[in-house]
């Protein structure tokens, strides 16, 4: 039985259809990614799965429990790392985790031990008695993941886990997240609007305007684009173009003094091209398709175009200011 089952889920806010009749299953033990631009309906879906929001229609089950009818059982089965930090900055890392341990009624005898274990796992044991307000963004996120795992949930939700982190902490966090399913026997459900980051997923659902427009493994999705793009510069582009078109029967595009050829396997295509064109070749470059290309192909726009205004960051800075 799939660990997450979503059947014909719809959520409207007034006239706005945030989630429009989506259905999908997530198998146990995988990393499932919800990929789409801001405002596509990712956070709304997570809020419904986490029992914080009622759906307009449709059914959602987690570990076999209905999110509407058995919220307490669903809540016990899930851990969540929200988009914005939900730590108490005026408590220490240790206190935040102990708070969680009590809230989830962890057995008294195991409380300390398990808190210590997750702190070690996220490499924050040495900082456990520091107030969370002194932590960097990456440390806070790691602490939240630790907290999400403390009660041994079957599904861990990560809503934009790397938002606002520097590249270094980002890649560290990914390394760490990809280890979770095996080490902690947990299924990961994550959302992101960073295409590169979705590569770690076993399966991806691409969502846009509340609809799932594609769902598959990253490799399969990328095949939709039609293969690798090889770009070549030569001493005589016109002649090279003529040769490629006639000998390989491939379409060639020319842009900014370079020739672009699309082929299913770039690694075998390049030697052939070089053999044919010989010494005329000046440079060769291969570009593998990215999930961004997939999104572009499916929607006709890149995901970055959709980035929302600076509203969120303004709000965040007001918050930061107020707390001083």
């Amino acid at each position: 039985m799939p660990i997450i089952q979503v059947e014909r889920l719809t959520k409207t806010f007034g006239t706005l259809v945030a989630v429009n009749d989506i259905s999908f299953d997530v198998e146990e033990g995988m990393i499932f990614g919800f990929l789409g631009p801001n405002g596509a309906g990712k956070t709304t879906t997570i809020s419904i799965l986490c029992t914080l929001l009622s759906p307009t229609s449709g059914r959602t089950l987690i570990a076999g429990f209905d999110c509407m009818r058995e919220p307490a059982k669903v809540r016990k089965s899930i851990g969540i790392v929200f988009q914005d930090t939900t730590l108490d900055k005026d408590l220490t890392a240790y206190e935040n985790l102990v708070f969680h341990a009590y809230l989830y009624s962890l057995p008294k005898a195991e409380r300390r031990e398990r808190v210590d274990a997750v702190l070690r796992f996220v490499d924050l044991y040495d900082r456990k008695d520091d107030l969370v307000r002194k932590f960097s963004g990456g440390m806070k996120r790691r602490l939240e993941v630790a907290r999400g795992l403390l009660h041994r949930p079957r599904v861990l939700f990560l809503d934009e886990p790397t938002l606002g982190l520097d590249p270094q902490s980002r890649s560290n966090l990914w390394e760490f997240i990809t280890e979770l399913p095996k080490k902690h026997n947990v299924t990961i459900f994550m959302t992101t609007h960073y295409m590169e980051e979705a590569e770690v997923c076993d399966r991806i659902a691409i969502i846009d305007h509340g609809k799932i427009i594609a769902m598959d493994s990253p490799e399969e999705l990328k095949k939709m684009v039609g293969g690798d793009v090889v770009s070549i510069t030569t001493t005589d582009n016109a002649r090279a173009r003529h040769d490629i078109e006639h000998l390989f029967r491939m379409n060639v595009a020319e842009k900014e003094n370079a020739l672009y050829v699309t082929c299913s396997r770039g690694d075998t295509c390049i030697p052939e091209l070089i053999r044919t064109l010989g010494e005329r070749v000046l440079s060769v470059r291969i570009q593998r398709p990215t999930l961004n290309d997939v999104f572009l192909k499916l929607t006709g726009k890149t995901i970055r175009d959709e980035e929302v205004s600076g509203n969120d960051s303004i709000r965040a800075s007001i918050r930061a200011h107020r707390r001083r």
């Binding site: 809540r75 899930i78 969540i80 939900t86 900055k89 102990v98 809230l103």
Partner: protein
């Protein structure tokens, strides 16, 4: 009842209360200003009645005020928790919404009762002679009133969800509640329309109960306006109603 959850919600608030010493000092400054500056000034205008000077008359009201401010401010920390996301951590936990409300209300109760008892400790300086029994009775009333007002504060916090609403609550809810509670003047002397509002205010009954205990000898028009039984019944029913409303309001969003 999920005692683990209630315990940890209370423990968090108490821990933060102890860490923020400035909060306690500013919370105590307000009643002291009212008692010794406003009270002392007005007592020059108001004649003694049954041997009770005005500064003594307002003493129960000032204890009530201490509770009003600290209970509601304590509950309003929920707005902070909403704004900074911590509330979500509590709401996704497998804990009933009522345990969350009760935990929050008990936190407010403890913090407020501590502050009220510090004001109560001033009684010898105001010329009172209270017995141990009276002191215990006052503390019991303080605790029940604190619970009631903390629960009311949670209801308020569920309606407002950003910190801009803070001054609205301060100016349009807390201050009128204080002025229309019989704290500064006896309810029976108010114009009819204000009398109605005063009777809808749970703080009125808490202060009235305190007057019963602090002035057992009866002090004419300055004395209590309601019976002890009425006071207790209103506070108990109001507490129950607020907890139920707040618990409902914490349910899943539509």
């Amino acid at each position: 009842m999920e005692l683990n959850a209630i315990y940890v919600i209370v423990a968090r608030e108490i821990k933060k209360f102890i860490r923020e010493k400035s909060r306690l000092i500013s919370a105590l400054a307000r009643p002291l200003l009212w008692l010794f500056i406003v009270g002392a000034g007005i007592s020059r205008l108001v004649p003694l009645e049954a041997g009770v000077p005005y500064t003594q008359f307002i003493y129960p009201g000032i204890i009530g005020m201490t509770i009003l401010f600290s209970s509601i401010l304590s509950s309003i920390s929920i707005i902070w928790d909403k704004e900074f996301g911590f509330l979500k951590e509590i709401l996704v936990a497998p804990v009933s919404r009522f345990s969350i409300v009760v935990g929050k209300a008990l936190s407010g109760t403890i913090v407020s009762t501590i502050q009220a008892s510090l004001i109560l400790a001033l009684f010898p300086f105001l010329g009172f002679q209270l017995t141990v029994l009276q002191i215990l009775a006052v503390l019991c009333i303080c605790a029940s009133l604190s619970f009631c007002l903390s629960a009311f504060g949670i209801v308020l916090a569920t309606f407002y969800d950003n910190y801009e609403s803070f001054s609205v609550i301060m100016n349009f809810i807390i201050m009128p509640m204080f002025f229309l509670s019989g704290a500064m003047y006896p309810v029976k002397l108010l114009p009819d329309i204000l009398k109605i509002v005063t009777k809808l205010n749970p703080l009125t009954y808490g202060i009235d109960a305190l007057k019963h205990v602090i002035f057992p000898q009866g002090i004419g028009t300055m004395g209590p306006d309601f019976s002890v039984l009425t006071n207790i019944a209103v506070i108990a029913l109001a507490s129950l109603a607020f907890v139920l409303i707040a618990g409902k309001a914490f349910e899943r969003k539509q």
